[in-house]
């Protein structure tokens, strides 16, 4: 049969039910939707909030979002595997305490900083091992560690802030590098690294695979437990880094540091389009999500919106963004969940 190859080509041609429509809202929302929201927000703020667009203020915003953005970067890894980490706020406190106490104890600043980050990674390792190897629910494990780590921070400081005006690594919180606040530089480095790992390495593919379908990942030869453990270590290390920055900014060890920060971080990740079901999302989305939250907070403060009202608005924005994201998942259909042509990884 001479025309057989042609027939085969037909058979593999696009199937009617599944091709991309001429304008695919889901596709474009996934690519630029959240960015459009950010730009609209910035324009709005620049118009109505006094001094919003000044360089000083933009730096302030950037500095203030750095901590949440770094927490959210680590959390993105966890959420991509369909996990959750509620302990990052408490980890932040412990790491800050460890770094400050180490510095007061006479260790050189870089060592103190490293110890702070390692303390965070260790806390993450415990979360990861419990979640992966004992198959405990991440929500419960990290709810527990959120509590005990907070207890640890209080215990190590006797419940009092430990101030060290000579803190060797205070520049990490307050200094400038090439005219840019150091926390912002650290944040940029974290995001470039996270982007590279997720998009360009084998490990990154494994993270997406585990979140997309854990059993398929296992049968494809991926060491699922190791991947799950590792993402909590990453989240812990990021929280550790954030803790060091926090301590440096306030030049002290604060046992109450980072209380409820995990919620802002989760909000940033979800706002950035990462699915809580795992396997879908981008690190750049998380960055934009963090910036939106930061811009919103700062702008509302500049506009003298009362704190209570700020909370109302922030909560509303989060729910709105997630609702739009969810609507794009199931266009015009009730019940069964069959996603549109969202971009794939």
């Amino acid at each position: 049969m001479t025309d057989r190859t042609l027939d085969k080509a037909e058979l593999t041609a696009p199937r009617p039910e599944q091709s991309t429509p001429s304008f695919d809202f889901a596709y474009w929302w996934d690519r630029v939707g959240i960015l459009v929201v950010l730009i609209a927000l910035v324009v709005l703020m620049a118009t109505i909030a006094p001094n919003f667009a000044s360089i000083d203020n933009l730096f302030n915003i950037a500095r203030s979002i750095a901590i949440n953005a770094i927490l959210a970067a680590g959390l993105t890894f966890v959420i991509l595997t369909a996990g959750i980490d509620l302990s990052v706020g408490s980890t932040l406190a412990v790491s800050g305490v460890v770094a400050v106490l180490a510095a007061i104890g006479g260790l050189p600043a870089p060592v103190a900083v490293l110890l702070g980050v390692l303390a965070g990674a260790a806390a993450g390792l415990v979360n990861g091992l419990l979640t992966a190897y004992l198959s405990l629910a991440a929500f419960i494990v990290t709810l527990g560690s959120m509590t005990y780590l907070r207890g640890l921070a209080y215990t190590m400081t006797d419940g009092q802030p430990v101030v060290d005006n000579m803190l060797g690594f205070r520049d990490i919180g307050n200094g400038y590098f090439a005219g840019i606040p150091v926390p912002v530089v650290v944040m940029a480095v974290v995001y470039v690294a996270a982007w590279f790992v997720l998009e360009r390495t084998r490990y990154g593919r494994h993270v997406y695979a585990v979140g997309g379908n854990a059993e398929a990942a296992r049968l494809a030869g991926i060491n699922v437990k190791r991947v799950i453990t590792s993402v909590y270590v990453i989240a812990g290390a990021c929280a550790g880094l954030a803790g060091v920055i926090f301590a440096a900014r306030v030049v002290s060890a604060q046992p109450t540091a980072g209380t409820s920060y995990e919620l802002d971080a989760i909000a940033a990740v979800v706002l950035g389009g990462t699915s809580l079901m795992g396997g879908r999302g981008r690190i750049i989305g998380t960055l934009i999500g963090s910036v939106i939250l930061g811009v919103l907070s700062t702008g509302l403060i500049l506009m003298n919106v009362p704190f209570f009202t700020q909370l109302l608005i922030k909560g509303g924005v989060i729910i709105f963004a997630v609702a739009v994201d969810s609507l794009k998942q199931r266009p015009l259909r009730l019940g069964r969940r069959t996603g549109g042509a969202a971009p794939a990884h």
Binding site: Q18, S19, G212, L219, A344
Partner: protein, 506 residues
């Protein structure tokens, strides 16, 4: 045809998804007391039609008439009101609830003070189950029943809603023979009772056993409707694929080489001990009823589950894989039973899905070599005739056949010594089936060993060299595929008169 016995008529129904026509001015009618088979390859438009009848999708143009009256079906509830019941391929029941609770779902009976009337619920459930002659205790938890039994419950639910128009979507896909036979009886009874049944299936034997009329869809269009007694199976297949089909099962026998896979006294939950070998260039099929231990045995070999005893050797080296990872490293590969649950990452791109198991080879110091990945993946896609433009599409957007090809392509990337295929063509259209068989031939030509698990008996016989029939976790008979008939396989699989444990329950 008189119009008064026509239960359902579709005229010029059109449905568009974006730029493509899923249904193109389709006509269809269903009479009282008939089974109307609806056949076509994946993507032909059968499921779109079903969704429209179920009220899950709205047509863009055309008419739907029930009993000669124009109707709108805007929701599943409206479908039910018009007497339309849909029995989906996947179960829409709650496994943790009892059979009776499932049957009463959404219409739980109340007693005089408004509380749940449990006794009444069980009584109603008994009646519903009796109507379809299903011998199931309504107090049992649904999840403890076999899949076949669960499907009976699903049907009992649909039938009890005074349904006169039943749409069954590949109802026997997950059923054993005995269970399928029971379903066929039920279909016969409902037809005698005056209901009209639309029967969507891939299986030609079923069409010939059940249908009064056959309608073929292809690429969203109605190709033709024939009475079963006026048409030959080959004609129907030709209508489906749009070209003549030579013998579907082609197996080029190789002269078997050395033993590649050597399994000795392998045992695990529900299996064993089993001992068998697969030689280079050989296709060996594990056959048997559902629950006979075929899939379980294959999974033990690969390392998907852990064996409790026994030895697995690949090319003479002891493997005894405890995880899939170890199995893969030793030269084993397995395409699991359910591609959606066990093989594919549905939202991820085709490229990602195909490359995922070969990234160790295609990265340096953990960094992906993206150009090489793309080259190697496209090479495998070309070989399996997957269009290149699918590379970056989510694998979920492919048809079942193309998804299965993607799952296969993943292992072609690794050149395994032993390829295990568990139900390689379930829910796959004929074109893709043929390509999968061709691939198996190609692999054996190159000296690979292939182990197939299949419930599709013509396939099991047609593409293998030897068949190992399993029953109750053991291999009870080895058959030469050239000499074996479907009856031979069934005879050994069922242990002649004895019924399979998985289907009967005391």
């Amino acid at each position: 045809m008189t119009s008064d016995d026509v239960l359902l008529r579709l005229e010029g129904v059109t449905k568009r998804f974006g730029a493509t026509l899923a249904l193109n001015r389709v006509d269809f009618d269903l009479r009282a007391g008939e089974v109307h088979a609806l056949v076509g390859e994946n993507g032909a438009g059968k499921s779109t039609l079903m969704k429209i009848l179920a009220g899950n999708e709205q047509r863009d143009a055309g008419r739907i008439l029930v009993d000669g009256q124009d109707v709108e079906i805007r929701s599943p509830n409206e479908a039910a009101r018009h007497g339309i019941a849909i029995i989906h391929q996947e179960l829409n029941t709650v496994p943790t609830m009892t059979v009776a609770e499932n049957l009463a779902l959404g219409q739980e009976p109340r007693n005089w003070h408004g509380a749940l009337d449990r006794r009444g619920m069980v009584r109603a459930a008994r009646a519903k189950l009796a109507r379809i002659a299903a011998d199931i205790d309504p107090r049992r938890t649904l999840g403890t029943l076999s899949v076949g039994m669960q499907q009976m419950v699903e049907i009992a639910r649909a039938v009890s809603e005074d349904a006169r128009i039943l749409v069954l979507d590949e109802p026997t896909a997950a059923l054993s023979r005995a269970e399928a036979a029971q379903l066929y009886r039920l279909v016969g009874e409902m037809r005698r009772g005056g209901a009209g049944l639309v029967y969507i299936t891939h299986r030609m034997e079923e069409v010939w056993q059940l249908a009064d009329r056959i309608t073929v869809f292809r690429d969203g269009a109605h190709i033709g409707t024939r009475r079963r007694d006026e048409v030959h199976p080959d004609d129907v297949v030709r209508m489906m694929v749009g070209r003549p089909v030579e013998d579907l099962y082609r197996h080029d026998r190789q002269r078997p080489g050395d033993t590649v896979l050597d399994v000795e006294n392998l045992a695990g939950p529900g299996v064993g001990p089993v001992t068998f070998r697969v030689r280079a260039g050989e296709v060996v099929c594990l056959a048997g009823l559902i629950g006979s231990g075929r899939t379980e045995a294959a999974r033990l070999v690969f390392g998907a589950d852990r064996a409790t005893a026994g030895t697995v050797r690949v090319r003479g080296r002891v493997v005894n894989a405890r995880t899939p990872r170890e199995g893969i490293r030793a030269g084993l590969a397995m395409v699991p039973e359910s591609r959606k649950d066990q093989a594919l990452f549905l939202p991820h791109s085709v490229e990602h899905n195909i490359a995922i198991s070969s990234l160790d080879r295609l990265s340096s110091a953990g960094v992906l070599q993206r150009r090489r990945i793309r080259q190697e993946v496209t090479a495998r896609m070309d070989r399996l005739r997957l269009r290149r433009s699918a590379l970056r599409l989510p694998v979920r957007s492919l048809s079942g056949g193309n998804q299965q090809k993607a799952a296969l392509a993943r292992w072609l990337m690794r050149e395994p010594d032993v390829l295990i295929l568990d139900e390689p063509t379930r829910g796959v259209d004929i074109g893709a089936k043929r390509e999968i068989y061709e691939l198996v031939n190609e692999l054996t030509e190159r000296g690979k060993a292939v182990l197939v698990v299949s419930s599709d008996l013509p396939e099991a016989i047609g593409i293998s060299d030897r068949i190992l029939v399993m029953r109750a976790g053991r291999i009870v008979q080895e058959l030469d595929s050239r000499l074996a008939s479907e009856e031979d396989v069934m005879f050994h699989a069922t242990g002649a008169a004895r019924r399979n444990q998985g289907e009967t329950h005391d």
